[in-house]
């Protein structure tokens, strides 16, 4: 029998699903007692090169409130050509096209290896992808130039039939008409006036000839092109648009001394959303917002144009001093919701040294499945490559993006259907789904029964096909009274850590930081109390089983992570980190919680080492991956050698190789990562070394005298507790009889 590890891995590979518990408690009460909720991380569009989509429509359960899709778990009566829905037990006849089925001639969806299956459905004509660039022109010349080049480059990456549009903004908002010959035309909006979607469409002249929009029926692309002058097929306006971008000037309105440029981001987005809403509802579309600073006027304003008033900090927010925060957030949320309803996603590419209002605007992306990319300048490889990667293609040459996704979850024994709209999905988009067991304690599910969950994801593939991916999962129910050890051993601590972290981050959005930490601590303690083995009031006796052993450590690092700690982070940075944390898959999420540290030395091949200050040694090169940053750290000795130039001497070829090794590894990581991490090359004593020092477990600090002077690592100057101290406290609390 495979270990749980193998089972979990296999499940993840096949279905993109990881449950916190792989045995499910059979009643609600039991479920709550498990502390970590029954939940899963689900990657709806996990890349499955080995999974060819089938070219027909799924068969649905005929019960109106069920509509579950036929799956391998259904009981089939081949003779009667009837199948029983495993969710509602409805017996359904097969459709006529299934007349030929038999035990030996089964459709793919009944085969166990197709617990995940993808259907291609033909619903009307394919709709083109839509890319609407919304570009801030209040940029430094150099930045604008770089951005223009990136945008021009991106045109070549788009499929020829994709529709593109361009909105630029500064003090005013300009919607560029792309279809025209001769004079370049644009529609201009005042940057200070909030307009309704209807007004925007009227002002753009979209109302007269807009018969669409009803019933969300997508348009025929030819019609669409003819109809909307602002969104045109790339192949047709390629040259025009390239020229237009080339001629794009910085916002011409003068910026007086001591002022910020007037940036009408709010109105620009409103126009973008309104434009798409009016012309292409329920069609896959991406609004790509490029900003070089915070919105400074009009609705959605984050900070005024007076430079002497700095943009809000966490301090201001905690003191309730952020004047525009609530209003702006509300404004962007409303926009995000409208956008989501229509299946349009919004990306934010914010490149500025100071904050640019991501805190207020992040909802645009989080609610619509858009990307957020944050950098210092558009003229950095971080931005350029990340942006390029947005358009990366999969093994089939299709974009790694999907639009207009709708995820449905059908759960055995619940009968309820839950739907979420995820406007844009990438293969790595991973959702955390939390279940509730609704069975009452006194009516337990029969032992040995299996619970089933079906995920139905409808989406528009980047090649414009409509597809439905169905994943059906089953897990055994277990009585928590009698089978607690089964349940315990079915615990997926990695998934659980990520899921709990997501809950924590979710809470952190609305609650004070310390409250979240306390809640997290309490959950941890309760979990330890539930599953730890110990004698009351004897911390030393505390033990955790293997399936839970790493969990407390994850929690320790989570507590220190930027997802929950705002110290030293701006509100924008926090938003950015959290945004990515809640959408990456399990592996990436874990890296974010607990960065990976590799050590390179002459002593052997590179090895992962503890994320601990004791790992920082003079003769090592360390490579730390926090997801957002890649830090290469040269130990003191290595650094001296390097400065001395040994690597350039033929006789020290090996040193040169040693220096090169982490660089190569880093390159590899860089290539796979989205968004591009910040790449930091530093050394002992270097200012940038702080990135490493802030992450490692401060096992040695200026306070821990007992290690002082030993050559076993670098003390960290911090008051943070070390993992050791944390564990000690945890044990004490867990075994304490008073709690």
């Amino acid at each position: 029998m495979a270990t749980y590890q193998e089972f979990i891995q296999q499940n993840e590979d096949r279905d993109g699903v990881r449950f916190s518990w792989n045995f499910w408690p059979s009643s609600r009460l039991e479920a709550t007692r498990l502390v970590v909720p029954v939940s899963c991380l689900f990657t709806p569009l996990k890349e499955r090169p080995d999974l060819p989509p089938v070219q027909y429509e799924p068969v649905l359960c005929s019960r109106a409130n069920c509509k579950a899709v036929l799956n391998p778990l259904c009981q089939v009566d081949f003779r009667a050509k009837i199948w029983a829905c495993n969710f509602c037990f409805q017996r359904n006849p097969f459709p006529p096209s299934y007349a030929g089925i038999s035990e030996v001639n089964q459709p793919a969806e009944l085969m166990p290896q197709f617990s995940t299956i993808e259907y291609i459905v033909q619903h009307g004509p394919p709709t083109p992808l839509i890319f609407l660039y919304v570009v801030d022109t209040c940029l430094e010349e150099e930045d604008l130039q770089a951005l223009k080049e990136s945008l021009q480059m991106s045109l070549s990456l788009l499929p020829p039939n994709a529709l593109v549009g361009l909105i630029t903004f500064g003090r005013m908002v300009q919607v560029h008409e792309l279809s025209c010959e001769g004079i370049a035309k644009s529609y201009v909006f005042r940057g200070t006036k909030d307009l309704s979607s209807k007004q925007i469409q009227e002002m753009l002249g979209l109302t007269n000839s807009a018969p669409l929009g009803q019933q969300g029926r997508p348009l025929v692309p030819q019609d669409a092109a003819a109809f909307c002058r602002f969104l045109q097929p790339v192949h047709r306006v390629d040259m025009n648009l390239t020229d237009l971008l080339g001629e794009l000037q910085r916002d011409p309105w003068p910026v007086p001394q001591g002022k910020r440029p007037l940036r009408s981001t709010g109105v620009a987005l409103s126009v973008a959303v309104g434009l798409l809403e009016g012309s292409f509802p329920n069609t896959g579309a991406r609004v790509m917002l490029f900003i070089g600073g915070p919105p400074t006027q009009g609705p959605g304003m984050v900070v005024g144009d007076e430079l002497k008033t700095p943009i809000r900090s966490w301090h201001d927010i905690q003191k309730d001093n952020a004047r525009h925060l609530k209003k702006a957030t509300k404004y962007y949320e409303a926009l995000a919701n409208r956008s989501a309803v229509n299946g349009h996603s919004i990306d934010i590419y914010a490149c500025a040294l100071d904050q640019s209002g991501l805190l207020e605007m992040k909802c645009l992306s989080t609610l619509t499945g858009g990307h957020i990319v944050m950098g210092d300048s558009f003229n950095t490889s971080l931005f350029k490559q990340t942006f390029q990667r947005v358009f990366s293609k999969d093994y089939n040459g299709d974009f790694r993006m999907a639009f207009g996704g709708v995820l449905e979850v059908k759960e055995m024994g619940v009968g309820g259907t839950n739907q979420w709209k995820v406007c844009s999905l990438t293969p790595s988009t991973t959702l955390g789904i939390y279940f509730e067991v609704v069975n009452q304690h006194n009516a337990p599910i029969p032992q040995g029964g299996r619970g089933a969950v079906q995920f139905v994801t409808q989406y528009q593939h980047s090649n414009t096909q409509r597809r439905i991916r169905v994943t059906t999962i089953a897990r055994n129910w277990a009585d928590a009274q009698t089978q607690i050890q089964h349940i315990e051993s079915s615990f997926d601590q990695e998934a659980a850590a990520v899921l709990m972290a997501r809950l924590g981050v979710f809470r952190a959005e609305s609650e004070e930081g310390p409250d979240v930490l306390r809640w997290l601590d309490r959950q941890l303690i309760r979990l330890c109390q539930k599953f730890g083995q110990f004698n009351k009031d004897d911390p030393a006796s505390f033990r955790l089983s293997e399936s839970l052993s790493l969990y407390p450590q994850f929690m320790f690092h989570l507590r220190r992570s930027p997802f929950l700690q705002v110290f030293n982070n701006s509100p924008d940075e926090s938003s950015y980190y959290r945004h990515h944390f809640v959408r990456q898959d399990l592996t990436q999420s874990l890296i974010m919680i607990q960065p990976i540290l590799y050590s390179y030395s002459f002593h052997g091949p590179p090895e992962p080492v503890l994320l601990d200050s004791s790992s920082i040694l003079p003769d090592r090169i360390l490579l730390m991956d926090t997801f957002f940053q890649l830090v290469i750290y040269h130990g003191e000795t290595i650094s001296q050698w390097r400065k001395a130039g040994y690597q350039k001497m033929a006789e020290y070829e090996n040193f040169k190789q040693l220096l090169q090794a982490p660089l190569d590894d880093a390159q590899e990581l860089l290539h796979a990562r989205f968004p591009m991490p910040r790449y930091i090359d530093t050394e002992h004593g270097g200012s940038q070394a702080r990135f490493l020092l802030s992450k490692v477990n401060p096992s040695q600090t200026h306070n821990s005298l007992y290690t002082w002077g030993q050559e076993t690592g670098s003390p960290i100057l911090t008051d943070d507790v070390s993992l050791q101290v944390f564990m000690d406290h945890l044990k004490k609390l867990a075994v304490s009889s008073s709690t």
């Binding site: 005013m172 004079i183 201009v188 002249g205």
Partner: protein
């Protein structure tokens, strides 16, 4: 002026008797009351009145002359002696009082000997008043006047009533020389007795028609004669002989019907004035000097009073008291055209700088340094002529006084010696204390379906290419372009661009300017891009089917653009239809013919309040002038649409049912004229007066935020402001009255300047003086504007009644107080006002004043608004069109053929006439016009071959054709607006259009003929008198 025309009310019949009357009249001393001093003579005169009437011309004419002569002599003598002495009346008028300026000289001349010199001055000087006013009218009147006025104390002989001209209804008419002559003859007789000795006694004094008659005697007279024109000449020579004959003739002719030639004729008055004062130099060194008519060619030499081109007054002699003013009901008003263009031979205004501290001003009333400041205390202080406050002379400005008490540098400083000049304004006079930017011009073209279809857009775009070259150099530096239908398109035409860029603004609710850099550009630098744009605009919208337009947001956009560029400027809006698109200022059709002739008719003239009202304010605040070119095919609610232009010093042009072929050239001429007008921007004008009276009401394309500051976004050379004055206190005859009009504005090249016009007027406690100093053209300008304003608030009927009543009252007052007693049946008109009734009648027949459903509401509103900004020349021409006979002119001469009276009777079947009133131009062709005439003008064999809608004459190589075309183009050049030439054939349907301009005839839609009106007025007068 003393002339009085006697017009018998029942005229026609009485005419004959009149004759007799005259004589009698002479005998009696009508003037007595007034001229009491004069003594006996007057009495004699008085008598005449009664009977005179009869055939007008003759009788009238006849009578006056003699008297004149007699008077003259007296006058002369007096003059020579002491002008003042003169009959008090005359004195008042003119010279006497003027003491300072008038300089003896002027008077002097009048006196007997130098009649010649006086020619011009005469009027002024002698009878002062009299002459000015044009004696012309009824010759007969002349005669009478003398009687009435008789004043010439010295002489003892009868004097004419100075101011008044009375007509016999018929008499005057100078039209036909011969008759007049006879007239004069008669008069002589009458006067004869009294004046005999003198010869022309009476005639002389009162410019009365006598002019002609008088001439013989007093040198001065001749001039007067001039006014009458040919007549004069004729008579004079004949005078002597004539007299005798005259009577006879008079008697003979007596007819039953009043001869139209016998009632005062405008053409005659004009001709006479031209003959008398044409080509002369008018030296403005005399207080209360009455200038020549607006139609007369003369040259002005500024010697301390503003040229009449800048300021004209309804009267140059104010009544001393408010009561007196009320009694005569003659409105006191000035028509100020601060930017009037000057002929080449007159000196442009000097610019004076008083350094960093700005122009020197009176500390109390803030009047600017001017010739009316009196330097005292050895030149260390000066007393303000307006408020009498004594001010210190700033050190840098100090200058010694000469033995006359005048500053030594008097003639080196324009502000001390001239009536008009400019000051350089300092930063204190600038908005925000920053020097202004040069004004900008923005062209805003309606590109909705109508304008595209009519070909207008293409036409404009083509024209703009050359037009821009013609812009004043400085405005070429800031030009911008906007097109619009129900959204606006701004264009970025920055010189660096390869292609213009269009920026569409559809947020019409809150207009804004989408770009700064590249919108207002230097034409020279951006020429290539602008040409590119102008080439593309017609194509870009060629397929448009957008027929809805906006309007208020278009103007708002212009204002915002100027705001952003921190400058003032002008918007040229080329618009087609009523703005019905959903936007601020949206209008609906509220044209309701049912309202015509009801209490509510005024609604048709009232602009819609709200958006446009506020817009006007915004425009004026920013110095944004709006010129509106309208191309409507139906009702557009012009009253509202033109509200902004008419409050911002803009012009309104309207081309109904515009077609490129027929109206294109007409429109382009207007446009070219318009852009080249000299103009000042962001202007504030203030009219200050000396103590005793003040400006109370203002008419024009202006905006008033308070009761004194006249704000104008711009003011060009054709815009005039009419200012009404009221008494505050008693005026002093000796001191006279002063006006100072100060206009603060920004020049076309962005300099801030103050333009100052000063004018001094006389004051008198004698009404006669007032009547003598009246100017009919100015009066009618005032009446037109006040009536046109009144119709906003009152039913037309009331307004018309008021006009007639006031006319009657003014004349009755004259009759009662200034004219010699005469039979009630006689109509006696002051000489200076003798053609007033024609104009008044014409005014009441203008479209706005006529409650006729046949007239388009927009046209009525258009005319109403256009008139509000007109100067005296324009209203004169509008109310009395020029009718030129072209069929019998001397093609070799450079002179225009003499205009004939605007009456159908003057047309002949075989004739060809050109009629123009500054807005319309007709070439009328008689039915029996000789084919060779047609051939040489139109190059077609006969009238029947003529094509219907021709808008220009073919260019043919023959003298007649050349002459006609040169006349037409000459007129077009001269007028502020271009006119569309319409060719009408007698008896053709379009002739109706033409006919409505024959203002002496019965109106087409209603309205009395001149004759009927005169009778009506006379009846009113009689009622008032009884």
């Amino acid at each position: 002026m003393s002339q009085q025309g006697y017009v018998a009310a029942p005229p026609y019949s009485q005419a004959q008797p009149g004759m007799g009357g005259y004589q009698g009249g002479f005998g009696t001393g009508p003037a007595q009351p007034l001229y009491g001093h004069y003594g006996g003579p007057p009495q004699a005169f008085t008598t005449p009145p009664a009977g005179m009437l009869k055939s007008p011309a003759s009788s009238a004419a006849g009578m006056p002359p003699p008297p004149v002569s007699s008077q003259y002599s007296p006058n002369v003598q007096q003059n020579g002696a002491h002008p003042q002495r003169y009959p008090s009346p005359p004195a008042v008028y003119g010279q006497p009082t003027q003491s300072p300026y008038n300089s003896m000289a002027s008077r002097g001349p009048p006196p007997s000997q130098q009649l010649t010199n006086e020619m011009s001055a005469l009027n002024l000087g002698n009878y002062g008043p009299g002459p000015m006013q044009s004696p012309p009218p009824p010759i007969s009147s002349v005669a009478h006047q003398p009687f009435q006025t008789p004043p010439p104390p010295a002489m003892g002989q009868p004097q004419m009533l100075p101011g008044s001209q009375s007509l016999n209804m018929s008499p005057q008419m100078s039209s036909s020389q011969s008759p007049q002559a006879s007239m004069s003859m008669t008069s002589p007789q009458m006067p004869g007795p009294p004046m005999a000795g003198v010869g022309r006694p009476f005639p002389g004094p009162p410019p009365p028609g006598p002019g002609g008659f008088q001439q013989p005697g007093p040198p001065g007279y001749p001039q007067q004669a001039g006014q009458f024109g040919g007549h004069m000449a004729g008579p004079q020579p004949g005078m002597p002989g004539a007299f005798p004959g005259a009577p006879g003739s008079l008697a003979g002719p007596p007819q039953k019907k009043l001869d139209p030639d016998s009632i005062p004729s405008i053409t005659q008055v004009i001709e006479d004035d031209q003959a008398k004062q044409g080509g002369q130099v008018l030296t403005t060194n005399i207080r209360g000097q009455v200038p020549p008519l607006v139609t007369t060619d003369f040259t002005v030499q500024d010697q301390g009073n503003a040229s009449p081109r800048f300021i004209r007054c309804t009267t140059y002699c104010l009544p001393c008291t408010a009561d007196l003013g009320k009694q005569c009901q003659v409105p006191l008003a000035s028509i100020i055209k601060p930017f009037a263009s000057l002929p080449k031979n007159e000196t442009p205004l000097y610019v004076v700088s008083h350094g960093d501290t700005g122009p020197i001003r009176c500390n109390r009333c803030k009047a600017y340094m001017c010739p009316y400041m009196r330097f005292i205390d050895g030149g260390r202080r000066y007393q303000c002529g307006f408020c009498s406050c004594v001010n210190e002379v700033p050190v840098f400005y100090f200058q010694h006084l000469d033995h006359m008490g005048r500053r030594v540098d008097l003639y080196e400083r324009p502000e001390l010696s001239l009536g008009s000049y400019e000051f350089v304004a300092t930063l204190d006079y600038c908005k925000n204390n920053k020097p202004p930017n040069p004004p900008a011009y923005i062209f805003m073209i309606d590109v909705s379906y109508n304008n595209i279809k009519s070909g207008l857009v293409k036409l404009i775009c083509e024209e703009l290419k050359t037009l821009l070259e013609k812009l004043p150099r400085y405005t070429q530096e800031d030009v911008g372009f906007v097109t619009y239908n129900k959204v606006l398109h701004f264009y970025n035409v920055k010189s660096a661009l390869a292609q213009p860029q269009m920026m569409v603004v559809s947020d019409t609710a809150e207009m804004f300017v989408p770009l700064l850099d590249g919108f207002l550009v230097n034409y020279q630098d951006s020429r290539a891009v602008i040409y590119n744009l102008l080439d593309q605009i017609p194509d870009m919208f060629a397929d448009t089917n957008e027929s809805e337009t906006i309007f208020a947001p278009v103007i708002q956009a212009g204002v915002e653009a100027f705001k952003a560029a921190e400058c003032s400027g002008k918007l040229f809006i080329f618009h087609s239809s009523m703005p019905t698109a959903e936007a601020p200022g949206k209008l609906k059709n509220r044209d309701d013919k049912k309202l015509v002739n009801t209490e509510k008719e005024k609604i048709l003239f009232q602009p819609q309040k709200g958006v446009y009202e506020q817009l006007s304010k915004d425009c004026v605040a920013q110095g944004c002038c709006v010129d509106l070119f309208l191309f409507p095919s139906q009702y557009v609610d012009l009253a509202t649409m033109a509200d902004v232009p008419s409050h911002t010093g803009g012009s309104i042009y309207k081309y109904s049912n515009f077609q490129v072929e027929t109206d294109g050239e007409h429109f382009l001429r207007d446009l070219r004229k318009d852009v080249q007008k000299s103009i000042g921007f962001d202007a504030v004008m203030r009219v200050r007066t000396s103590t005793g009276f003040r400006a109370t009401d203002f008419f024009g394309a202006i905006h008033m935020n308070n009761t004194t500051d006249i704000e104008m976004a711009a003011v060009d050379c054709d815009k005039a402001v009419t200012v009404e004055f009221k008494h505050d206190d008693t005026l002093n005859e000796e001191n006279g009255a002063f006006l100072q009009c100060a206009l603060l504005y920004t020049t076309i090249n962005g300099q801030r300047r103050l333009r100052i016009h000063n004018l001094s007027l006389n004051c008198s406690s004698q009404l006669l003086e007032l009547y003598k100093s009246c100017e009919t053209d100015s009066l009618i300008n005032f009446f037109a504007k006040s009536a046109y304003r009144a119709i906003l608030n009152q039913p037309l009927k009331n307004v018309r009644e008021i006009l007639v009543n006031q006319t009657a009252h003014m004349l009755a007052c004259y009759r009662k107080n200034c004219a010699s007693p005469s039979a009630a049946s006689q109509l006696i008109l002051p000489d200076a006002m003798k053609v007033f009734p024609v104009y008044m009648n014409s005014l009441m027949k203008t479209a706005p004043m006529l409650g006729s459903t046949e007239l388009s509401t927009d046209d009525r509103a258009h005319q109403r608004l256009s008139v509000m900004a007109m100067g005296v020349e324009d209203t004169q021409l509008l109310l009395y069109p020029r009718l030129l006979p072209l069929h019998n002119m001397d093609v070799s001469s450079d002179i225009l053929p003499a205009p004939v009276r605007c009456s159908e009777e003057r047309l002949t079947d075989c004739g060809m006439f050109l009629l123009e009133n500054g807005h319309s131009m007709f070439l009328w062709l008689g039915q029996a016009i000789p084919p060779d005439l047609i051939q040489s003008i139109f190059n077609v064999p006969s009238l029947a071959h003529l094509q219907g809608d021709m808008c220009a004459l073919p260019e043919l190589d023959n003298v007649l054709s050349k002459k006609v075309r040169s006349i037409i183009s000459g007129l077009l050049d001269k007028r502020p607006n271009s006119m569309k030439l319409q060719i009408v054939r007698q008896k053709d349907k379009p002739e109706m259009l033409f006919r409505q301009f024959l203002v002496e005839d019965k109106g087409l839609y209603s309205g009395a003929s001149y004759m009927d009106f005169l009778c009506y007025v006379h009846r009113e007068i009689r009622q008032l008198l009884t």
